[in-house]
């Protein structure tokens, strides 16, 4: 155990310097250096926390918190709390419902409450707004009175949904995000074949991203190899051809592809005038999946070329020469000697392009048509419909996927290896 009072004395006479053991002074100097380094980073760290991390956190909270119904139906919330799950709604329940409908009418909350239930049981929104409109005319006994207005009020699914929504904390939005729904007795099941959207959309987003990544790799590899093996002066000149697209506005590039690919556009006109296709047989190259793939490959290609290039540039040519002199064919040399050395670049490029592709929004929105939409576009769709909780749940799922890939990138490549141009 160290003699504590003595250290305190030493700290008090720190100015005296020489009496303090070297180790302690070193530790103190290191702590000061650490503090200084951290202080330099601190302003940006606070800024990013405030304008980036907290907003995203708040938004994600909406995916598990929705008080549209629980805030508008106090009496029902109480009744649900007092009864176990699966209880048949009796007259007290309907009385609570009637008083809540009146509450909603007075505070104009019926739309919001109905919307919350509507996520689980489609068609409920109008049920609530209609019932709230006539809430002041309801008299006891309430069950027959409400049933007379609309038979749907007896629907056990509706009551299960209301019980679920009685707590503002919910996993409903994640359930519907994986095409599941609640059953009347509290279990979960897959939604009908026709309304399954999301799982297919994940599959499509990942598949399209994979296709885009593979095409990018196939196109970037020869180009990066050429750039890496040319003399520096000529390589720099050709590099401009890669960097110019990289620096050109995304919307400009998307516009030019629309001009090139649309049915009255340059490529189709060329094909028609060359006689390859008839005037009525113009190819649908854009506003569909093909368009999304072509344009996104063009936009993401530099992100593949740059990491590949920086790895290939430093591969010494002597290994390949040695392999040839030992009798390997050029194909064997490429496959067994050159290719393995480019793997770090391939890994970096593939991961980066895939990460960027999975979350892409602008290009699919502009040239994707109906079947070239990706996951981000679905989030925007729910935002535009004010389904904020559903948008947040989908965003959380996308974010989880991207962060996983990002973590992988950091482990395999290292963030500090990221280079631009």
């Amino acid at each position: 155990m160290v003699d504590l009072p003595r250290i305190a004395v030493q700290a008090a006479t720190a100015a005296a310097g020489p009496e303090i053991p070297l180790k302690a002074r070193l530790a103190r100097a290191q702590a000061r250096a650490r503090r200084r380094a951290f202080l330099l980073v601190l302003p940006l760290l606070l800024f990013i926390l405030l304008t980036f991390v907290i907003p995203i956190g708040q938004m994600l909270q909406r995916s598990i918190y929705h008080d549209g119904f629980s805030g508008a139906a106090p009496a029902l919330v109480e009744w649900f709390a007092a009864t176990p799950a699966g209880t048949e709604p009796d007259e007290t329940a309907f009385a609570a419902l009637a008083s809540d409908l009146l509450f909603m009418k007075e505070r104009k909350l019926a739309g919001e409450a109905g919307t919350r239930i509507n996520y689980a049981v489609p068609g409920s929104r109008s049920l609530f707004t209609a019932a709230a409109r006539g809430a002041d005319r309801l008299t006891a006994p309430y069950r027959p009175a409400l049933m007379a207005e609309d038979g749907k009020w007896a629907d056990p699914l509706l009551w299960a949904a209301m019980r679920e929504a009685a707590s503002p904390w919910t996993t409903d939005f994640y359930l519907s995000g994986i095409d599941m729904q609640r059953t009347a007795n509290g279990g979960i099941e897959r939604v009908d074949e026709g309304s399954r959207v999301y799982l297919a959309l994940y599959a499509k987003t990942f598949l399209l991203s994979a296709v885009i990544t593979i095409i990018c790799l196939a196109l970037a590899f020869p180009v990066a190899h050429l750039l890496a093996t040319l003399p520096m002066a000529r390589a720099n000149l050709l590099m401009i051809l890669v960097l110019l697209p990289f620096w050109t506005s995304l919307l400009v590039r998307t516009t030019s592809w629309i001009v090139l690919l649309q049915s009255q556009g340059v490529i189709n006109s060329l094909l028609v005038s060359a006689g390859f296709i008839g005037d009525d047989g113009r190819l649908a190259l854009i506003y569909n999946r093909t368009g999304t793939i072509i344009v996104m490959v063009h936009i993401l290609l530099p992100f593949m070329v740059l990491p590949l290039y920086s790895v290939m540039r430093v591969i010494p040519p002597v290994y390949a020469r040695a392999a040839r002199s030992l009798g390997a064919t050029s194909w064997t040399t490429f496959r067994r000697i050159y290719l393995p050395q480019t793997l770090p670049g391939i890994g970096a490029g593939v991961l980066l392009v895939f990460i960027l592709a999975v979350g892409y929004y602008i290009t699919p929105a502009l040239v994707g048509g109906a079947d070239g939409q990706l996951f981000s576009n679905q989030i925007q769709f729910h935002m535009s419909k004010s389904n904020w909780s559903q948008a947040a749940a989908l965003a959380a799922m996308l974010l989880a996927g991207v962060l996983l890939l990002y973590w992988l990138y950091d482990r395999l490549v290292g963030i500090d290896k990221l280079k631009l141009g």
Partner: protein, 310 residues
């Protein structure tokens, strides 16, 4: 790379095929950008080369879409007096360009300042939690833009909600859009400045100190000139990021903060007219200029750091 003298005919043939493939890929990269330049001078509202354009008939070419850029939104494009003030105040694209510049310049200044400071800290060997903090600070570049924009949309509509009070909003304000673009721009500044610092000889700092320079003088006379190329190229990246950004603008900006990309977005979604090609051509010229500056900076940086580059 020339072929080695021992190459056999098959390899020579493959070499030619390989060069053809590379040429085609370069063409794929660059042709779409170049093709819009002549098309923006089309006299007809089409997106393809007309007969007259191909025969270089002057009647097939015109500047009408560039005129359209200026006159769209103007009250009286033909009036002689007050033309300038009319254009400055009302022309839709001019307003968008002005907004883009204001937002771009301010977000670049803030992003470059914050990002350079942070990069200086991150490059120090004593930085605690270096990897984690770096990952966090770079993440605005990786997290899908739709998620960032959605989060900011909610947060900026009531930014004081975190301390539980109501106070104005940042949506539909310049400040809101600028803040969003700062967030998106800082990763680029950090990446370029840390890259410059990685080649920085730390003993220069000790040399300066031993020659009697205090930390302030060391920073301004020794460190700053050496990392300046990295800082400037980071600033260019931040500016281009802001200048090209549309999703955050879609979510956060109001009608008063429409930028050039936002205006193009509208144009592409509603009816695409060759006026967009005129804007695109101008932007391509701008990006060529930026690329040239960047290349000159890179050479200067290499020279200063003693990297031969050849």
């Amino acid at each position: 790379m020339a072929l080695p003298p021992y190459a056999d005919p098959l390899e020579r043939l493959w070499r030619i095929i390989y060069l053809v493939i590379c040429t085609l890929i370069f063409l794929f990269l660059i042709a779409p950008i170049l093709v819009i330049i002549p098309l923006s001078f089309n006299a007809e509202p089409y997106f393809t080369f007309t007969e007259k354009m191909l025969t270089f008939d002057p009647a097939g070419w015109s500047l009408r879409w560039y005129e359209a850029l200026i006159s769209t939104g103007m009250q009286a494009p033909d009036a002689a007096d007050g033309w300038w003030s009319d254009m400055w105040a009302n022309a839709a694209w001019v307003k968008a360009a002005r907004n883009s510049l204001i937002i771009g310049v301010w977000s670049t200044i803030v992003a470059t300042g914050l990002g350079t400071l942070a990069a200086l800290g991150l490059a120090r060997p004593d930085m605690p939690y270096r990897r984690l903090i770096m990952a966090l600070l770079i993440s605005p570049m990786i997290v899908p833009i739709i998620i960032v924009a959605t989060g900011m949309f909610f947060f900026f509509s009531n930014p004081c909600s975190i301390i539980g009070v109501e106070c104005g909003r940042l949506t539909s304000t310049y400040a809101g859009v600028i803040l969003a673009h700062v967030v998106l721009g800082t990763p680029f500044v950090i990446i370029t400045v840390t890259a410059t610092l990685s080649g920085f000889d730390q003993s220069l700092i000790r040399a300066a100190a031993s020659l009697g320079a205090n930390p302030r003088i060391t920073f301004f006379r020794v460190i700053m000139p050496l990392i300046l190329p990295g800082v400037i190229s980071g600033a260019l990246f931040a500016f281009v990021t802001s200048f090209d950004e549309v999703v955050a603008v879609l979510f956060i900006a109001g009608p008063e903060q429409q930028t050039i990309p936002r205006q193009m977005w509208n144009g592409i979604r509603e009816q695409i007219s060759p006026a967009i090609l005129a804007v695109a051509t101008i932007l391509v010229v701008v990006s060529i200029a930026l690329l040239t500056i960047l290349e000159l900076l890179r050479r200067r940086s290499d020279r200063l750091r003693g990297v031969s580059g050849r």
